[in-house]
């Protein structure tokens, strides 16, 4: 008896991931790229404005200050941090580090990556935060 592949494996319903907390978190992580794409498009618009001239640049900053844009970018900030929290724990699993014959504890690798986030923020503060 021959069965086609669709008969062997019934297609999943679209809401399969709503049935378990683990799958909901998985989908939430996938969705972190939606506000990321929004921020990236904002940034591209800013680059075009900067190329056009000083007035366009001021106009872009005003656009970035409108409540809905600000809110979506706050969401993008939260999404980047949530993504970071899920991404950093993968590193020690994908590439365990060994130093002098001792494997580095997972917690140290995760903490090192958060230190990287702080270092980049400090770099931006050094570049933009001072008068």
């Amino acid at each position: 008896m021959h069965k086609s592949s669709s008969q062997r494996l019934p297609p999943l319903k679209r809401n399969w991931w709503l049935k378990h907390r683990f799958f909901k978190l998985y989908m939430l992580r996938e969705a972190t790229v939606l506000p990321l794409v929004f921020f990236t498009l904002c940034l591209l618009a800013g680059m075009v404005a900067l190329l056009q001239g000083a007035d366009s640049w001021q106009g872009w900053i005003a656009f970035m200050g409108s409540p809905i844009v600000l809110l979506l970018n706050l969401l993008a900030l939260a999404a980047s941090l949530f993504h970071a929290a899920t991404f950093f724990v993968l590193f020690p699993r994908v590439m365990p580090l060994r130093i002098a014959g001792h494997s580095l504890p997972d917690k140290a690798i995760v903490a090192g990556q958060w230190a990287g986030v702080v270092a980049v923020a400090l770099l931006f503060f050094w570049l933009l935060g001072r008068a």
Binding site: H2, L12, E30, I61, S80, A121, L128, A131
Partner: protein
């Protein structure tokens, strides 16, 4: 056993996915940038700047132009725009597959194609700014 053989003969042909390591590498590199660099970029450029929390002149037209239209600016755009775009394209493609929207062959072309197009546009803007 016979059934298994029959499935192998009539089942869908699986082509060797020679390009998947490339997409996965870009996804991975973009994921690192999204996690490590983007929080600071979003905080300073999309929140502090429009709220007026940066010191006067920190990102004035002249300063922003000098920072962006330069070799470090080119690398910045690669890490903050291009790689995260490929990360997003990969997640969107697999997300669409997960909720059975469209078909993967088309989604793949649309997502990675859009990421490549916007990346070229972003890097092209920096080069245009450097040349003017």
């Amino acid at each position: 056993m016979m059934e298994k053989l029959a499935i192998n003969e009539h089942g869908p042909q699986h082509k060797q996915a020679f390009d998947e390591p490339l997409w996965w590498s870009l996804f991975s590199a973009g994921g690192v940038c999204f996690a490590v660099i983007l929080p600071a970029v979003i905080l300073f450029i999309a929140i502090c700047l429009p709220l007026g929390l940066l010191p006067a002149g920190a990102l004035s037209y002249e300063r922003a132009s000098n920072l962006l239209f330069s070799v470090p600016g080119f690398l910045f755009v690669g890490a903050v725009v291009c790689l995260p775009l490929f990360h997003a394209a990969h997640r969107l493609r697999h997300g669409l597959f997960d909720i059975s929207v469209g078909n993967d062959i088309l989604n793949k072309k649309l997502m990675y194609g859009a990421a490549a197009l916007l990346s070229v546009l972003a890097l092209g803007l920096v080069v245009a700014g450097m040349l003017r």
